[in-house]
């Protein structure tokens, strides 16, 4: 890369304030999308802790589940679910931008690519539900 140009005398160089993401709804949505990954990661951490307690036997697992019933943990899960859904929706939207799908030389309209993502999501969710219902 080339070195950034030295400031020219007489010019005014604006600086972006730290609150730039509050200036425009689109910037705020972007920051929330970035923040969503923190909640998704935190939820995965809880899930791993759950698996760890499961490996230690039924009592340890039951005790851990009892802890998760506290209002604080329930609030965390509700917020984490909201962020996870937002993360998913924005991800599916982004997929259509990134992935150009061509069938017979013609580009598939981006909304169809997003719709296909939702269809796969619904199918997998349904499959998991059916699987859980059987056991």
């Amino acid at each position: 890369m080339s070195a950034p140009a030295a400031p020219r005398p007489g010019l005014y160089y604006p600086k972006l304030p730290r609150t730039w993401w509050l200036r425009h709804p689109a910037y705020f949505r972007f920051m929330m999308r970035e923040l969503s990954s923190v909640f998704v990661a935190a939820f995965l951490g809880v899930l791993l802790a759950q698996l760890y307690h499961l490996s230690r036997g039924p009592e340890a697992f039951a005790a851990f589940l009892a802890q998760l019933r506290s209002p604080g943990w329930i609030a965390f899960h509700v917020i984490a679910l909201g962020f996870a859904v937002y993360h998913t929706v924005t991800w599916f939207g982004a997929t259509a931008v990134v992935q150009v799908v061509r069938i017979g030389g013609r580009q598939v309209p981006p909304p169809l690519v997003t719709a296909a993502n939702y269809a796969v999501w619904a199918a997998v969710s349904l499959g998991v539900l059916v699987w859980f219902a059987r056991i």
Binding site: M1, S2, P4, A5, P7, R8, G10, L11, Y12, Y13, P14, L16, W20, W21, R23, H24, A26, Y27, F30, E34, A94, V97, V98, Q99, V100, G105, Q107
Partner: protein, 249 residues
Amino acid sequence: MAEETIRLEVTRYSPGQDREPRRQAFTVPYRKEWVVLDALNYIKDRVDGTLAYRWSCRMGVCGSCGMMVNGVPKLTCAAFLRDYAPGPIRVEPLANFPVIRDLVIALDDFMEKLKRVKPWIIRETEKPVAEGEYRQTPEELERYKQFSQCINCMLCYAACPVYGLSPAFLGPAAIALGHRYNLDSRDEGYRVRESVLAEAVGVWECTFVGECSAVCPKGVDPAAAIQRSKAAFARDWLLSFVLPRGGRS
């Protein structure tokens, strides 16, 4: 009956006199067929001839009259006063750029970056003119056409907080134009451009805010160009482990 008017709050900056930009209010006639640029021309012609701004074609082709209108990057030739009535309308120089004077920004940084992505057709060997032109099918044209509509108006840079926070970022328009030539069936410069586009301050600096595409007045989607380039470079990187020369000749 008194003529209807609207107030414009215009950023002024005089190098050597002002330490930082200041705001000056002007009252101009309100006409529903007028755009912000008409109002600025009225101020310059009738009120204050020292007001500095760029403009040329008045029809969304030249890309010179980009400014922040109420905090959003706009071509002022396409920003109607009626859409901002009753005002006041805040007119500022494009964000994220050094200001030369009033509403005029310095473009040196972009010009340097644009050159680096080599936005022209690169051939390994040029064929003789006698052999005719490089032909292209409509499908091949369609692959890059939208990216060729860029008019270098800089609205996308003004909308990009990544460029505002890290000015070394190559930026939306330069990457979109590099991508446009990478998609061109007549071009053989992918590798040359990849060395610039795939730098840390190239496509990887982008965090996909997406506002570059939202503000583009020509329907170009620079955010898509950047994300698709990321996907292509990631694929090349993976292929470089299994195929000689990353699977490309």
